[in-house]
Amino acid sequence: MEVLHIEATEDSPDIMLDQEKEIFEISGRSLPEDVNTYYKPVLEWIKEYSKNPNRRTIFKFRFSYFNTASSKVILDILTIFEEMIEEKHDVLVRWYYPVKDEDMLEAGEEYSEMVEVPFEFIAFQHIN
């Protein structure tokens, strides 16, 4: 599959989806004007990838902030992973949260309760 790379802006995260190099990562801050438009290619890419994924997929979320509209899209992404797991594919979510940001950790924990997908939680040093 073609690599999907969307560079971060002041209101949207960096997105890197590369099947060959096994890099699947969304990182930064997410409050785009229109979440539907912004995440459409991302959801399409992941959906397409899910039809013929790698043997193991480690997907990294490394948010410093996301707004409520983005939180809904994150669940949509996780739902695709859940479907992949039902199809016996191996998917792991690594949920990075800024050190001492309990809300971001909690957000990840809530997602892990909502979908049948394994999660790992890792603190990272956030630099503004």
């Binding site: 002041e10 209101d11 409050l31 004007e33 229109d34 979440v35 539907n36 902030y65 707004n67 409520t68 509209a69 939180s71 809904k72 899209v73 669940l75 001492k100 940001d101 809300d103 809530e110 309760e113 909502m114």
Partner: protein, 194 residues
């Protein structure tokens, strides 16, 4: 050349500006905006507030909470302020005020809404206000699961998120403007020590 009467008008206006300044100081207002609230304005305010809080050496937690509230409040208005009749002077516009004292930050927004939306808005806020922490958590998760993103990108999660992040109830007020619209004011307080 300025005529005598212009002078008088100008002085009157400058006095007004001074009174306005004093009023702002008295209410400890640190940011006020009136006009169209767009995504550009949202981004500008958020970064202004961030820089200010950094300078005031607010804790990271307070900064994050204020950030959350600002974004949700501003995006609420930028999504919904255009919903009503465009003939009104309130169309697409709103007011946005951030004030603070030694204990709290207060974010207040105001925008016109159609009268027919008042009861739904009232119910939504009252419901959210009544819930405790774990109920809010469950409602947020339920709304994420079952809710759909509107065309305008709203997920119906803003009020729940504000209530959860601040721990405080949302205060609101509807001022009647005409038989069609009212001015909806929403105020949120964020403790400075959390």
């Amino acid at each position: 050349m300025m005529t005598g009467s212009d002078d008088k008008n100008l002085n009157g206006f400058l006095e007004f500006v001074y009174d306005f300044y004093k009023t702002m100081k008295a209410h400890e207002i640190c940011l006020v905006y009136e006009g169209k609230i767009t995504h550009q304005i949202t981004k500008a305010f958020v970064s202004l507030a961030e820089a200010q809080m950094e300078e005031d050496q607010e804790t990271v937690r307070v900064q994050r909470t204020v950030f959350h509230v600002l974004v949700e409040c501003l995006q609420n208005i930028s999504r919904h302020a255009d919903d009503h009749e465009s003939a009104s002077i309130f169309s697409g516009k709103g007011i946005f005020v951030v004030s603070k004292n030694s204990d709290i930050y207060c974010v207040t927004t105001g925008n016109a809404v159609l009268n027919e939306k008042i009861s739904a808005l009232t119910k939504m806020i009252d419901d959210v206000n009544e819930l405790d922490g774990s109920q809010l958590r469950n409602l947020y998760m339920k709304q994420m699961r079952e809710g759909r993103l509107s065309e305008k990108g709203g997920a119906g999660l803003g009020f729940i998120d504000i209530r959860r992040k601040t721990g405080n109830k949302l205060e609101y007020y509807f001022l009647p403007v005409s038989d069609k619209i009212s001015f909806f004011m929403l105020s949120t307080t964020i403790p400075r020590i959390i």
